[in-house]
């Protein structure tokens, strides 16, 4: 039994809380844990919705919580709570110990927490620097007004979301870090209508750690992009089901690589035995035209981090180099269970999830071709200008909706088509990416997986896939 002081302190997010955290970590180790990690979170969020010409919803939210994780051998127990009092944290770590049924006499040595790595020093004024609700409302209203210029547009929406998160991470290897994260997203959605014809268009824009980004957002250009997309697709015919070459557009086209291949390179997939790439390190898994990267360091990118949710600074990981698999995306548990070194990719939605190996900014690197060269190389195919959502099954099969597609005939873009779905398997499609364009761009998004929904960017230049199954009517 370890004596703890009876003063019931509570976590104060304006302080380091070093003494209290060391006490909790010591308690966990004294009860037999091999490793203890505490993740503390304080949030302040708001969302604003504008429909047609009115603000229809303003929803603030705030909260705090703790996620405590302990490891014993390769097992881990995770407890989350809203009770940040000392008593609450002791209860949580005791519960984690009991869950793992630890009955160990060997006590791991704890040297105490290192000096705090405070990544939040220059970020403390962010909450004051972000736009006010008035400023947000005005810009969104201006955006939806702009969408009005096309009379067939029946539904106009603009939305804004701000997530501010202060975190403190402390663990028994001495890791001690503090950070503030800021993510802002804005989305525009339209539905166009003409008799029996309907189409929709949507775009999302996002930034991380840039309080002024929303103010600088070019809402007119964004509105034009959404309008063009929905109007082009309004009278489109359904695509015929077939197998053809496709050109996938840059930016959000990278969602296919993210879903179909990126997830299979996370160590959680190796642990589960659900990736076909587990034993392919330094082997060819893609066409030699393909180099792919996952990194968390690009300034302002939606998936960038100063420090991951396990207290490690993110690195740039070359996942695939000229078609050869070079690295997996790994977190602490992944390193422990699979042997792949951590990459600063331990991420979670919030305190109620244990961190897991997750992508950050993931993209296919640029090649040497222009978009026109890719399209002109195809006599009969499909150009996927804008991708919708998709998913990957437990056996690696993926399925993605094409939001905006155009037939390619004799090297030229022809009529728009709707209802297309791209179907395939990463192991079959990766070797068929034969040409990469020179126009790499990234796009923000949210990725849902084992540790919840996290901010990411996807990206690629225009790429050509020699053949893929296209679902249609």
């Amino acid at each position: 039994m370890v004596l703890t002081s009876y003063i019931n302190k509570e976590i104060d997010f304006n302080e380091e809380n070093k003494e209290l955290l060391e006490e909790i970590i010591s308690l966990g180790l004294s009860l037999g844990a091999d490793f203890v990690e505490i993740f503390l979170e304080n949030t302040d969020n708001i969302s604003v919705l504008v429909e047609e010409d009115f603000i229809t919803n303003v929803s603030p939210s705030f909260g705090k919580g703790a996620g405590i994780r302990i490891f014993k051998d390769k097992r881990d127990g995770f407890v989350s709570t809203n009770d940040l009092s000392k008593k609450g944290l002791i209860n949580s770590i005791t519960q984690a110990i009991e869950m793992l049924d630890i009955n160990s006499t060997t006590i791991k040595r704890f040297e105490g927490l290192e000096d705090i790595r405070n990544y939040s020093i220059d970020k403390c004024s962010w909450l004051d620097a972000i736009p006010t609700v008035n400023e947000i409302g005005e810009k969104l209203l201006s955006s939806t007004k702009f969408l009005k210029k096309e009379e067939k547009v029946n539904v106009r929406k603009g939305s804004y979301s701000r997530n501010w998160q202060k975190v403190i991470i402390a663990s028994s290897d001495g890791t001690f870090a503090k950070d503030i994260r800021l993510h802002q997203t804005v989305g525009l959605n339209v539905i166009a209508l003409d008799k029996q014809y309907r189409s929709s268009g949507s775009r999302r824009f996002g930034s991380s750690d840039s309080p002024d980004e929303f103010k600088n957002w070019n809402h007119e250009a964004a509105a034009n992009e959404v309008l063009d997309s929905s109007m082009n697709m309004l009278y489109a015919d359904y695509v015929d089901a077939c197998q053809k070459p496709v050109v996938l557009a840059n930016k959000f086209g990278g969602v296919i690589f993210h879903e179909a291949c990126g997830h299979l390179l996370e160590t959680t997939q190796i642990e589960r035995g659900t990736t076909p790439f587990a034993n392919k390190l330094n082997k060819k898994i893609a066409h030699e035209a393909v180099t792919a990267v996952d990194e968390g360091i690009s300034s302002g990118s939606f998936g960038s981090l100063s420090v991951d949710d396990e207290g490690m600074e993110p690195e740039k990981s070359i996942l695939i180099k000229d078609g050869i698999l070079k690295k997996f995306i790994s977190d602490r548990a992944g390193e422990m269970r699979t042997g792949h070194k951590r990459t600063g990719s331990g991420r979670r939605q919030n305190y109620s999830f244990a961190a897991a190996s997750r992508m950050r900014n993931t993209f296919i690197a640029k090649g040497n071709y222009s978009k026109d060269e890719l399209i002109s190389s195809i006599s009969d195919g499909l150009y996927c200008k804008s991708m919708g959502g998709g998913s990957v099954g437990a056996t690696g099969q993926f399925n993605f909706a094409v939001e905006e597609g155009y037939l390619i005939k004799n090297g030229k873009l022809t009529k728009p088509v709707k209802g297309a779905t791209l179907i395939g398997e990463a192991t079959e499609v990766m070797p068929k990416i034969s040409m990469c364009g020179n126009d790499l761009e990234l796009a923000p998004g949210f990725c849902g997986s084992i540790s919840g929904s996290v901010n990411v960017t996807v990206g690629q230049p225009h790429i050509k896939v020699d053949s893929i199954t296209i679902g249609g009517r």
């Binding site: 604003v48 429909e51 009115f54 603000i55 229809t56 919803n57 303003v58 929803s59 603030p60 939210s61 705030f62 909260g63 919580g65 390769k74 097992r75 881990d76 127990g77 995770f78 407890v79 989350s80 809203n82 009770d83 949580s92 984690a96 009991e98 869950m99 793992l100 049924d101 609700v133 409302g137 539904v155 539905i191 309907r198 929709s200 089901a241 642990e271 589960r272 035995g273 659900t274 109620s352 244990a354 919708g388 959502g389 998709g390 998913s391 099954g393 437990a394 056996t395 099969q397 399925n399 909706a401 709707k418 209802g419 297309a420 779905t421 179907i423 199954t469 679902g471 249609g472 009517r473």
Partner: protein, 449 residues
């Protein structure tokens, strides 16, 4: 704090901010879950969560809202303050009020609250289940997705007009998704989910049997030709499809212009007259039943489609006022209140008995049986009525079946509902509702052959 303490504290604090009208909904939960990997505990989780959503009305009767997990006195004061600020941006074009039914009696449902089994018991049970499933067939190499959980929660609603409601419940769930692989063949994966009020109520053996049967039966597969096929939807897959398009019943979606229905659609023949659909959140088989919605409106059974005719929409307080009707017990809690279905019950109309042909157990013709639809979030355009979805299923011919390697089914819901050619008599219980097998004249299938 309990319901009365929170209500009292908010009453006193609201007065200091000159807030006269408010309501709140809160939930408190304790959750426990385990996962295993070949007998070894992988991750054991416990969580204690509380969340409160508070609405206040300002002097212009505009609503502001705040959500928080900080239920300390300071947290509640801050929530009131923030909600009050947010009310400056309340929607003047669509006022929200208390539900007129928030104080109506709620249907007494037995409070199914089991005692916690505890992490050790959960772990032991899941280990055994995983082992039994692994031993069902040599091709089953792993159970990559598995979990056993139990949850204990309390939900409350109260408003400044004196409405106070609460209920407590427990729920447990197991899922087992197996991955099977044979030499030179693609891996196949399938699984099963079972839920109950507590661990003792879950039929774990049937979960194991179902996961094994589904996974193994798909080992022998074949690609199919792209084309149009007669379709039989399993109860699960039909409910998945209807839930994905539930905006057609949703008054909120209709007002927002994102539904395939419109304000005048009630009374329209939208489906084959064989089809009846009810929303019945209080159905005795619905483990997740709740006696009231986010606005405190009592949950009720509502007929959505009657003999093929669109009969009712689901409503919150504000949408009901716009449609000049009553809220139906399907609301969330917000300044813009969301609306959603509870638990769908699909049945064959009793009035029509002449369509008795086509039964999935004895039909000898050629058709595709859709067992499970996937990637719903990506392949459904609810505002347009179209869908293109991957599925797990079977190709039937002459009474023999073969698993389909990989394929998608595409169509338009409006056409599909009218193209229903039979609804079998027998209903099956699923985790998301009750439905019989549903036959459709034809749909487009994209295969890999």
């Amino acid at each position: 704090m309990d319901l009365k303490e929170i209500s009292n504290f908010i009453t006193i604090s609201a007065e200091t901010l000159n807030i006269k009208k408010w309501d709140f909904g809160a939930s408190f939960s304790n959750d426990f879950s385990v996962q295993v990997d070949k007998g070894i505990a992988k991750q054991l989780k416990a969580s204690q969560k509380q969340v409160l959503t508070l609405r206040v009305w300002n002097n212009e009767n505009l609503v502001g809202i705040t959500t928080t997990s900080d239920l300390s006195e300071n947290g509640l004061k801050k929530a009131l303050y923030q909600a009050n600020l947010a009310s400056d941006y309340g929607n003047k074009n669509e006022l929200t009020d208390f539900s007129p039914l928030a104080k109506d009696p709620i249907k007494k449902i037995k409070e199914f609250k089991r005692s916690p089994a505890g992490i050790k018991k959960l772990l032991e049970t899941l280990r055994i289940a995983e082992n039994e499933l692994l031993n069902k067939h040599s091709a089953i190499k792993t159970i990559p997705y598995n979990g056993l959980s139990e949850s204990f929660f309390k939900r409350i609603y109260a408003n400044s007009d004196g409405a106070q409601r609460s209920y407590e419940k427990s729920q447990a769930a197991i899922y087992l998704y197996a991955r099977a692989e044979e030499n030179n063949r693609k891996p196949r994966s399938s699984g099963s989910v079972k839920i109950g009020y507590g661990l003792e109520d879950i039929d774990i053996n049937s979960c194991i049997e179902e996961a094994a049967e589904k996974t193994i039966s798909h080992l022998n597969y074949k690609a199919i030709e792209t084309g149009k096929y007669k379709i039989c939807f399993s109860p699960e897959s039909f409910l998945t499809l209807i839930n994905a398009f539930s905006s057609m019943f949703n008054a909120r979606s209709i007002i927002d212009g994102v539904s395939i229905s419109n304000k005048d659609s009630i009374g329209d023949m939208i489906a084959n007259p064989l089809l009846n659909i009810f929303d019945d959140g209080l159905h005795e088989k619905n483990i997740s039943s709740a006696p009231f919605d986010g606005e405190g409106t009592p949950t009720q059974k509502l007929c959505l489609i009657n003999n093929g005719k669109l009969e009712n929409f689901i409503h919150s307080e504000s949408t009901a006022r716009i449609f000049k009707t009553k809220p139906t017990g399907h609301a969330g809690l917000g300044s813009k209140v969301s609306v959603s279905t509870d638990w769908l019950v699909v049945e064959r109309s009793e009035n029509l008995s002449k369509h008795n042909y086509l039964n999935h157990k004895d039909y000898l013709g050629e058709y595709i049986y859709i067992e499970e639809l996937n990637a719903i979030h990506a392949g459904v355009k609810a505002s347009q009525g179209s869908f293109s979805l991957p599925f797990d299923g079977w190709f039937y011919k002459g009474g023999k079946r073969i698993s389909i390697e990989a394929a998608t089914v595409a169509g338009d819901l409006k056409i599909l509902l009218k193209d229903i050619i039979n609804i079998e008599k027998k209903q099956y219980l699923t985790t998301s509702g009750i439905s019989p097998h549903i036959w459709v004249k034809e749909l487009s299938i994209t295969g890999d052959a």
